[in-house]
């Protein structure tokens, strides 16, 4: 087998340290079938269209977007839980998209996931001890002393290790999410994909889980891909943030920069839309608002996918300037603002 070429670098994407996971031109389409007896493929849901990014060691990369933006699909495709339509996912020199389920299995020790819904992602019929021990058993690591290891994991995530014989339903939402985190940690992974890990939790509970995740990341040197729709959470946990809209990455920047001066009109709209829990600031803010809803990913708009809702396209651009928005897909490149933006007319704006 030939040694695969290292993927091309991504200029301007930032991040320090060696890349752990390299994603290039990742595409995932889901078929849309016709109704009736003979079901034919009548179209595709363009869930992810050519996403490229690196996840570095000891880094939290945030992936934000609204529902239907493809962020969860990216998370699942990275781990080969969905097979990619095309594109590359490189982990430690190996091309994950080409691996069979069996070849993938040893790598699953190093690549773990925490799911959004702490109610649906834990088996209700086995004890919490067994839930956390399950990955160890599957990978043949449940030897003598493994019981202690599981108790230690429960302690690590802030649960009482004596509660190991209880069942998932006996725990609150925040505690269940901690169980999910303990299970993901059991095999000592290097990369953890967190798919909306706190969005089902009340704020007072959410804060504890976020603190836990940040401690784990910094002390254990893990790499997190943190998928969420809440920008305030992103700002808090992530070093870099990538913004998705309708299957494409539209902007990627260090968290601080992204919030201080977002350059893509969609990022600006997102930052504007998040209410600040500060009455005076909230009422005095400058806002970029968008019209309408996200278009269908079955027939996404040509050129720039955001143009149908873009305030810049609607109000500022001249007829001739709009042509490139309609005809050309804007590439995710640095346009002078210091970070890559997929907008022909990107312009940094201060909104906070």
């Amino acid at each position: 087998m030939s040694v695969p070429q290292p993927p091309p670098p991504l200029p301007g994407h930032g991040g320090t340290g060696a890349p752990v996971l390299q994603v290039r031109d990742l595409v995932k389409h889901f078929p849309v079938m016709s109704r009736g007896v003979v079901r034919r493929r009548v179209g595709d849901v363009h869930a992810v269209c050519g996403a490229s990014f690196d996840l570095h060691e000891n880094e939290t990369l945030g992936l934000v977007g609204e529902s239907g933006s493809g962020k969860t699909t990216i998370a699942r495709t990275l781990l080969n839980l969905e097979s990619a339509t095309s594109g590359q996912v490189r982990y430690q020199g190996r091309e994950l998209t080409e691996l069979s389920r069996r070849q993938m299995r040893p790598l699953r020790r190093e690549l773990q996931i925490v799911f959004q819904d702490p109610y649906a992602s834990l088996d209700p019929r086995i004890s919490v001890h067994e839930i956390v021990a399950e990955p160890l058993r599957i990978h043949g690591r449940y030897g003598p002393g493994a019981g202690d290891e599981v108790r230690e994991l429960l302690r690590l995530v802030g649960l009482n290790p004596e509660h190991g014989n209880r069942f998932a339903h006996e725990f609150s939402g925040g505690q269940r999410q901690r169980i999910g985190i303990a299970r993901a940690l059991a095999l000592r992974p290097k990369v953890i994909v967190l798919d909306e890990p706190v969005s089902a939790l009340d704020v007072s509970i959410q804060a504890g889980v976020l603190n836990l995740l940040m401690d784990l990341q910094s002390e254990l040197g893990l790499s997190f891909l943190f998928v969420a729709h809440d920008l305030s959470v992103m700002r808090h946990v992530a070093q870099r943030v990538a913004v998705m809209y309708l299957g494409r990455l539209v902007e990627i920047a260090p968290a601080r920069t992204l919030f201080a001066r977002p350059a893509h009109p969609y990022t600006q709209a997102l930052v504007s839309a998040i209410p600040l829990p500060d009455p005076r600031k909230e009422r005095a803010r400058r806002r970029v608002t968008v019209q309408g809803d996200v278009p269908s990913p079955i027939r996404p708009p040509s050129g720039c996918r955001f143009r149908t809702r873009c305030p810049k396209f609607a109000d500022e651009l001249t007829e001739s300037e709009r042509v490139s928005c309609v005809e050309q897909v804007p590439e995710l490149i640095d346009r002078g603002g210091g970070n890559p933006v997929a907008c022909h007319y990107a312009e940094s704006v201060e909104l906070l």
Binding site: E152, G158, D202, D215, L220, F259, P275, R287
Partner: protein, 366 residues
């Protein structure tokens, strides 16, 4: 002690809605669930009150009790007066005359609050005709189109004949807002109106809600768990915990000088976009079960300031140093000039376990 002093906003006589010492209990097989325990507030004409609290704090049940929408098994006591008329104990027929025209309600999930088998135009017209039977079908339709336009639905002439499933979540919620404002109500109660929506759509819906308020001059009760939404859209705030209002005041009071540890904890656990906070300060534990509520302050088990008195005396809602700012805490004064970080621990992973785990990790890789 569960007496409520209520949320007083000045002593003007212009109150449209007065809720006093409202209690709601649900008898269940396991015992009585005391969902609301003495809630009181007073809403002036045109004013907006935010009610915040986490899941299970009783904020929605309070709203349903005001609207008379609780199941017959619920035991509701206290007083709810709309423009001086007592609503508790009124027949359903009498309440129906009031719902929509006097008090309108917007629910969280627009898919379940709209009827899937009727067009949205029909549903708006239905509301209009219920309170104005003489309006006539054609006029009702025209008014429906107007209302759809007001709440920001593009091409309302076409959309008026759409069924709810043909509209997106945001559009449906606009329809619900259109229905709520159709009869020019004096009070709109919005129960988590944007929780099911994406943030950019949430911003649009909140704008539509503001439009509805300015068009009708209605007072607003905005129930939400999102402190940010409250900060931008309400004049006063009531914070609920375990079926009671535990703190209330103007938005500035609540956000800048909280006098109840729970409020302080909530604010400290919020990650914010506009600043770099080192650590968040979560509130440990979870809210108490309303089935077997222990005596004393319901927040005491989670409160880092707990003293012995907190375990047996439930503090009443008392005025703080600032007029109109009330707090239900024995030690409210101690919170003067105190940040969440000084009271709450920024707990994360168990530090010792984490160190051990990190050690074994490095051994493994050797």
């Amino acid at each position: 002690m569960t007496t409520s002093q209520g949320v007083q906003a000045g002593s003007g006589s212009g109150a449209v809605l007065e809720v006093e010492d409202l209690t709601v209990e649900f008898p269940t097989e396991d015992g009585v669930v005391r969902a609301v325990r003495g809630v009181g507030y007073r809403l002036e004409r045109g004013e907006s009150l935010g009610i915040v609290g986490e899941s299970g704090s009783g904020k929605s049940v309070t709203a349903l009790a005001v609207m008379g929408l609780l199941p017959a098994t619920a035991r509701v006591r206290g007083s709810v007066r709309f423009e001086g008329t007592e609503l508790l104990g009124l027949s359903d027929a009498r309440l129906s005359d009031l719902r929509g025209s006097g008090i309108a309600m917007i629910f969280q999930d627009p898919m379940t609050s709209l009827n899937p088998v009727y067009t949205v135009g029909y549903q708006i017209a239905e509301t209009l005709l219920r309170h104005n039977p003489g309006l006539g079908g054609r006029a009702a339709r025209e008014r429906s189109v107007d209302l759809l336009g007001t709440v920001g639905i593009p091409s309302p002439q076409r959309r008026v004949d759409s069924y709810p499933h043909e509209l997106s979540g945001g559009m449906r919620q606009r329809v619900v807002i259109a229905i709520a404002m159709a009869n020019d109500p004096d009070v709109i109660i919005a129960d988590e109106p944007t929780t099911a929506l994406d943030v950019t759509v949430q911003a649009q819906i909140l704008d539509a809600l503001e439009t509805a308020r300015s068009e009708t001059g209605a007072a607003l009760v905005l129930i939400t768990h999102d402190l940010g939404v409250v900060a931008g859209h309400t004049d006063r705030v009531a914070v609920m915990y375990a079926g009671r209002i535990v703190e209330t005041g103007s938005v500035e009071d609540i956000f800048y000088t909280p006098r109840m540890p729970y409020t302080l904890g909530l604010l400290g656990s919020l990650p914010r976009m506009d600043r770099d906070e080192e650590r968040l300060t979560p509130i440990t534990g979870s809210p108490p079960s309303l089935l077997h509520l222990p005596p004393g302050c319901p927040f005491a088990p989670r409160c880092p300031m707990r003293q012995d008195v907190c375990d047996h005396d439930e503090p009443p809602l008392r005025t703080t140093a600032h007029d109109g700012h009330l707090s239900a805490c024995h030690f409210a004064e101690r919170l003067v000039d105190t940040g969440a970080g000084e009271i709450f621990d920024a707990v994360g992973a168990d530090a010792e376990a984490l160190a051990r785990f990190a050690d074994t990790e490095s051994e493994d890789s050797v």
